[in-house]
């Protein structure tokens, strides 16, 4: 059971996507795990053959518990512990952990029979997680509608509220899965942030950046492009920050029991607000070397999956530093709280036109306040100031980002 955040103590295995005997490749999603952050895809970190699954679906186990054994394929054990061999019974074990399941909810109706199912493992061709927002999932839970039973009319077959309302009258009551529980999410945020404030001696710096060059470059870049190819200022902020982190490794890494360990590359977390009251900060891997269009598409994809489900464990647990951009809601400056075990949180406020002294003249310029919350155990304000200046320098040459 991977750790998907400093606060996470246990997780519930929701579903195996592989069966004993299956060959898996490094990076392949092999299981779904339910945490306070919703259902997360768990990837495998080595290639090989799944020899045995140690944990049955709907079982809650502590972080660090082995979930399965990957090997050469010589010692395959087909039986799942505690799960019976019929697909119907296995499907009945699928509804989520006791914490989030509706009390005494009847099991999902068994779908059309799967031809000659292998013994033990859960068939994966049915009941794949449906695209739906947390709000839809919550509503589905209230209505007792199984998302799997619906056909979505949203983009990419995503289920939208309208589908639910249509289905509410006719669908059999059934336990849904997926989404996140706002209360559970709030508890997880409380635990993480309490630890951050208890253990990390934060220092804070902020400065105002002139966005004239970035703004003009972005407007020019976007002018003749269709919406799907356009960039957002957030992508420029992320890239500039990732490059600055690359240059100042004392802000990029994890602080563990052995002290600070700088990371070899920048896996930049992006704080994403979830409709319905939630916050998650998945990472964009190796953000410092991604071209802006690639970074933008990763960002779009990450936001979409954060809201609809499908985040991967490596994304949720792996950020080496995090950016938060509350600018959308009109605040000038963000004073961030560091997400342990990271050591820096970079905040961007609302881009705003403000009077600025430019070459002995007063000019109206697009500006943004950028802030740094950093861990004083690892570095001092002097380095933090150099770091913010580096972000500034990067944003003055958007064409080179």
């Amino acid at each position: 059971m991977p750790s998907l955040g400093a606060d996470m103590e246990a997780g519930t295995l929701v579903e195996w996507l592989v069966a004993p005997g299956d060959r898996v490749e490094k990076g392949q999603v092999i299981a779904l795990v339910e945490t306070a952050k919703g259902v997360i895809d768990v990837e495998v970190f080595e290639s090989g053959v799944v020899e045995e699954c140690y944990v049955a679906p709907a079982t809650r186990v502590p972080v660090g518990t082995p979930l399965a054994r990957i090997g050469s394929g010589k010692r395959v054990v087909a039986e799942l512990p505690g799960a019976s061999a019929t697909p119907a019974a296995a499907a009945a074990a699928l509804p989520p952990s006791a914490e989030t399941a509706a009390p005494a909810a009847p099991p999902e109706p068994s779908p059309a029979p799967v031809p000659t199912p292998p013994p033990g493992p859960v068939p994966t061709s049915e009941g794949g997680r449906r695209a739906a927002s947390p709000a839809v999932r919550r509503r589905a839970r209230e209505l007792g509608v199984a998302l799997e039973s619906l056909s979505g009319s949203g983009p990419g077959g995503a289920i939208v509220l309208r589908d639910l309302d249509e289905a509410a009258g006719r669908a059999p009551r059934s336990a849904p899965r997926g989404g996140f529980d706002p209360d559970e999410m709030r508890r997880a945020i409380a635990a993480t942030m309490s630890r951050a404030k208890r253990e990390i001696p934060h220092y804070y710096l902020a400065t105002t950046l002139d966005l004239h060059a970035a703004d003009a470059w972005l407007a020019d870049y976007n002018r003749d492009r269709p919406p799907e190819e356009r960039l957002l200022m957030a992508a420029l902020f992320m890239k500039a920050t990732a490059r600055a982190l690359d240059r100042y490794p004392d802000l990029n890494g994890h602080y563990g029991e052995e002290g600070f360990q700088p990371a070899e590359r920048v896996d930049l977390g992006m704080a994403i607000h979830l409709r319905g009251g939630g916050l998650i900060a998945p990472a964009i891997a190796n953000a410092a070397v991604l071209d802006l269009p690639v970074l933008m598409s990763r960002l779009t994809d990450l936001v979409q999956r954060a809201r609809r489900g499908g985040l991967r464990a490596s994304e949720v647990g792996g950020a080496t530093a995090t950016v938060t951009a509350l600018g959308e809601h009109g605040v000038d400056t963000v004073y961030g709280v560091i997400h342990p075990p990271q050591v820096a949180m970079i905040g961007f406020g609302a881009p705003r036109r403000r009077p600025l002294a430019v070459d002995e003249m007063l000019a109206i310029r697009p500006t943004v306040d950028v802030s740094l919350a950093a861990d004083h155990r690892v570095c001092d304000g002097h380095l933090g100031a150099l770091f913010l200046n580096e972000i500034d320098a990067q944003l003055q040459h958007p064409e080179a980002l």
Partner: protein, 82 residues
């Protein structure tokens, strides 16, 4: 396509992006960003969806002025192909 059909399509895409919006009671004049909490990523996703569905690519400079559903419909109506 008449305006009601267009409105249905826009609302459809809007609710896919922000499923918590009750499209039955939406105020056509309300500011989408403030009233319905649409951020710039949501807005770009909406433009992308409308481009793919209606074939109208709204330039960024024009979108800046389209604050409400009503403004969006007024803008789109004369620009629909066919």
């Amino acid at each position: 396509m008449n305006r009601d059909q267009l409105r249905d399509i826009v609302l459809d895409e809007l609710s896919a992006i922000a499923p918590d919006i009750d499209t039955a009671t939406i105020d056509d004049r309300a500011r989408l960003r403030d009233e319905y909490d649409l951020d710039s990523m949501d807005a770009l996703n909406l433009l992308t969806a409308l481009h793919q569905r209606l074939g109208v690519s709204i330039p960024e400079s024009d979108y800046a002025g389209l604050h409400s559903l009503q403004a969006l419909l007024d803008y789109l109506t004369p620009r629909l192909p066919g």
